[in-house]
Amino acid sequence: MTVSIQTIYDLAIFKSLKPESQEALAKASLVKECSPNTIFQMQDERCEFVGFVRSGSAVIFRLSANGNEQIISVLTPGMHFNTVPALDARNNVRACIKAISPLSLLVIPVGLFRTLLQSHADIAYIILTDFAKRLDHLVQLVDELSLHSVRGRLALFLLNQAQEKQHSKAWTQDEIAAHLGTVRDVIGRTLRAFIKAGLIERKNGEIVVINQKGLEEEANF
């Protein structure tokens, strides 16, 4: 399905582009729809397209050799993926992507994406700006994984989620383990240790942070 200029304009990342750049993007793009729980990309496959999320959400994760998932990021409307492998000589995608709700994507084949960046400076600039943001996110992720123990990472995760007012979500221990790059047993043990230490309590389908200061100390604030 080819797309209209309005479809391009509706994506926040492209709003500020010159009309001719939006038109070039519209000509190069297609719309792709995915059902929930569809894994539409496997890590190490050849990168065929760059994707921009129009609506819905998806999770980007890497699989370790023993099958553990490390969630890299959650894609929400306006975000994009595969811009790195699209520009890299190796040209293989770095991670798997799974739709977690009905997902609509704007996709641009790799060859056309490269041509667009070379011919439209304003498109190249917004992609670079977004690269900078994502690099910052990855530095933060490396910091959390390398400088904090699982105990510290879980404490930080609980504090962040407890303070999240807009997108409150129900979590399972498996999902938390995938987010923190560990396994469910470790999450279960650490939650029990936090309960025993009087930092949190579990009641009626909730983990309640009852000692914020104590949890902040665990997170190495």
């Binding site: 303070q163 999240e164 409150s168 979500k169 399972t172 389908g205 942070v209």
Partner: protein, 78 residues
């Protein structure tokens, strides 16, 4: 809390080894065995105690939970 009413344990049948520990320990009879398969029999009786999830030796049961901050958590008193 109203949100917890929507939260029910998920049983991953492919991980279950049919030991029956979950139904044996469930204090409210929420989980019952049908043959050797654990099933959520009386969901309205679940108190979200988390015991089934904790006791399951293979991690086949997942009990979702919300994460909240208690109003006086900053003081460290409950």
């Amino acid at each position: 809390m109203d949100q917890s009413k929507k939260l029910l344990m998920k049983i991953n049948a492919s991980l279950c080894v049919h030991c029956g520990a979950c139904s044996y320990l469930c204090a409210t009879g929420t989980i019952a065995l049908k043959g050797t398969d654990p099933t959520v029999d009386k969901p309205e009786q679940c108190t979200n105690c988390g015991l089934c999830e904790e006791i399951c030796p293979t991690g086949a049961i997942s009990l979702p939970f919300f994460i909240k901050l208690q109003a006086n958590a900053l003081l460290g008193i409950s």
